[in-house]
Symmetry: D2
Subunit: 79 residues, 4 copies
Amino acid sequence: MTDNISADRLRLFIERIERLEEEKRGIADDIKDVFAEAKATGFDAKAMRVVIRLRRMEKHHRDEMDAIVDTYRAALGMA
Amino acid sequence: MTDNISADRLRLFIERIERLEEEKRGIADDIKDVFAEAKATGFDAKAMRVVIRLRRMEKHHRDEMDAIVDTYRAALGMA
Amino acid sequence: MTDNISADRLRLFIERIERLEEEKRGIADDIKDVFAEAKATGFDAKAMRVVIRLRRMEKHHRDEMDAIVDTYRAALGMA
Amino acid sequence: MTDNISADRLRLFIERIERLEEEKRGIADDIKDVFAEAKATGFDAKAMRVVIRLRRMEKHHRDEMDAIVDTYRAALGMA
């Protein structure tokens, strides 16, 4: 790096990213903790994940997907 | 690497892994092609993925998960 | 869900996880923004990621890895 | 599904994808086996992965990346 200014700027960018990644890892751990807490209370983590994924969908889209999946399950003898 | 034998052995391992990774990428492309073909026929790729994931589960486990998810959806007003 | 208490508790767990996942997505976007800012300043995002990955390693471990990779590169004619 | 033909067609697509996914999992296991074999021979799996990733790059691109990473490492006191 030809001059110190660029080196300092690079360091600032790198350290900003590292702090954000650290924060992200912290939140990922918090999510794990909440699932563990729910599990200890008797809830099923896998089923909770399915429901969370469904809640992210618009209701009309979710209803449409439900209908298609049910149709495919029936067609494949999985109803 | 102190001697040519190790260098050759390393190359053999690396090339074996590269061939396998190449093969794996080829199959991933084939899977994409089948989904595209199904989509062109009018099937819904996302719903197919849900059904394929469900088919990987044992029937009794799948029934249990269905029941729990339905219970949670009802409890959250998503039935 | 037999009683309202469990339904409420499930909702609380689900909403806590959703808020944390929302926060995590926000931070992932922030990370992307910083890389974009660095790129606009003339830095190379891929090289920055390599350096960030290396900085996560203990120095002695990093030096050891450097030495092994250099040896392997030389053995494979990639020096 | 209104008629049996679509149900059969859906089943065929699903079974083709399942066979390909099975094949892909098999190859992923083979890759793990080769790494384990190399490790048992004394090679370092992580360093091998770094080298394999570098070999996937065009030589001129690899040389360019090497130069940038070295510059950044020097700028950050990681040379």
